[in-house]
C-alpha cells in the first residue's frame, strides 16, 4: 500500500520532466520510462493483465511509432526535373539546398524525375521542391502554403540565376 504512493510520486516527476523538456527525442524517452512506472502501478492495483498490455503497447510500440513519424517528417524531398543528372546539378544548386536544410535541421534527398506527367505531384507524394531549368535560369517550385518556401526565397534573394516560384497546390502544376 505504501509503495503505490512512492511509484505515483515517481510517475509525477517523470511527467514534469516531459512538460519542461524541449527536445522531441528526450520527450519520447521520458514517456517510455513513465509508462513503465505506470505499468508497475497497475500491477500493485491487482490488475496484471493491464500491466502486461501497458508494457507492450505504452513503452514499446508507441515510442516506436513516434520515432518513425519524426524521421519521416525530417525528410526534404526534391525532384530534379532538369536535363542534367544529380552530379551536374551539384555545383550550382546543391550547396544552397544543403545549407538551407542544415539550417532547419532537415534531411535532404534529391531524386531524378521519373514521372512523365508532373501534374498533381505535390498532392500525391510528399514532394517539397521541384527543380527546373529555363534559359540559364534555375526555377525552384514549391507549395505556397509552406513557410519553408518563404525562408528559401529570403535565402536566394541575391542570386540572379535562381528563381523561387510558389505554386498553389491542386490547381495546376505550371
Amino acid at each position: 500500500m505504501k509503495i503505490i504512493y512512492l511509484l505515483e510520486i515517481l510517475l509525477i516527476i517523470f511527467l514534469i520532466f516531459i512538460i519542461i523538456s524541449k527536445n522531441n527525442l528526450k520527450l519520447i524517452v521520458f514517456f517510455s520510462a513513465s509508462s513503465l512506472v505506470s505499468a508497475s502501478i497497475y500491477l500493485f492495483l491487482d490488475s496484471p493483465d493491464l500491466a502486461l498490455a501497458e508494457v507492450a503497447i505504452g513503452s514499446a510500440i508507441i515510442p516506436l511509432i513516434f520515432i518513425i513519424a519524426i524521421s519521416k517528417q525530417r525528410k526534404f524531398l526534391v525532384i530534379n526535373n532538369t536535363a542534367f543528372d544529380n552530379e551536374r546539378i551539384e555545383y550550382c544548386i546543391y550547396d544552397i539546398l544543403k545549407e538551407f536544410t542544415d539550417l532547419y535541421n532537415l534531411k535532404l534527398e534529391i531524386q531524378d524525375s521519373e514521372y512523365d506527367e508532373l501534374y498533381g505531384i505535390f498532392r500525391s507524394k510528399n514532394v517539397d521542391l521541384v527543380i527546373e531549368k529555363k534559359k540559364d535560369k534555375y526555377i525552384l517550385k514549391g507549395k505556397k502554403t509552406s513557410i519553408l518556401m518563404n525562408k528559401l526565397e529570403d535565402m536566394t534573394k541575391g542570386k540572379k540565376d535562381i528563381k523561387v516560384v510558389k505554386v498553389i497546390e491542386g490547381e495546376t502544376y505550371d
Binding site: L15, N24, L45, D46, I57, A69, N126, E169
Partner: protein, 111 residues
C-alpha cells in the same frame, strides 16, 4: 487510498496542463497520451478496496477486485495506441503542407 486518488488526479491535471500550454504538435500528442493513462489509473484506483486479491478464482479468493473496470481499461489502452498512430500520420501531412509543426505559426498564417 485517499492519497492515491489525489495523486492520480494530479497526473490527469498535468496531462491537461501540457495539452493547453504546448506549442509543438508532437508534445500535444504525448500529453494526450498522458491524460489517457491518468484516466486508466483513476478507474483502477476507484475500483480497488483494501485488502483485495487479483481476479482469479481459486479456493481462497474471498474478496477479489472487480474485473469489469480492468476489461474496459484494456480496451482504452489499445484504442489509445490507434489514435496516436492516426494523429502522428496527420502531423506528417501538416508538416509537409505548412512547413512547420508550431500551432501558433500556422494558425497566424492561415487564419
Amino acid at each position: 487510498m485517499k492519497l492515491s486518488i489525489i495523486l492520480a488526479f494530479i497526473t490527469l491535471l498535468i496531462g491537461i496542463y501540457g495539452l493547453i500550454i504546448s506549442k509543438n504538435i508532437i508534445k500535444s500528442i504525448i500529453c494526450f497520451n498522458i491524460s489517457q493513462g491518468a484516466v486508466v489509473l483513476l478507474f483502477l484506483t476507484f475500483s480497488k478496496e483494501y485488502p483485495s486479491s487479483i481476479p482469479i478464482i481459486s479456493e481462497n479468493s474471498s474478496n477479489m477486485v472487480d474485473p469489469l473496470p480492468q476489461a474496459l481499461m484494456l480496451t482504452t489502452i489499445v484504442i489509445g495506441a490507434a489514435i496516436t498512430a492516426l494523429a502522428l500520420m496527420l502531423s506528417i501531412k501538416i508538416f509537409h503542407y505548412y512547413g512547420t509543426l508550431d500551432w501558433k505559426e500556422f494558425i497566424e498564417r492561415n487564419g
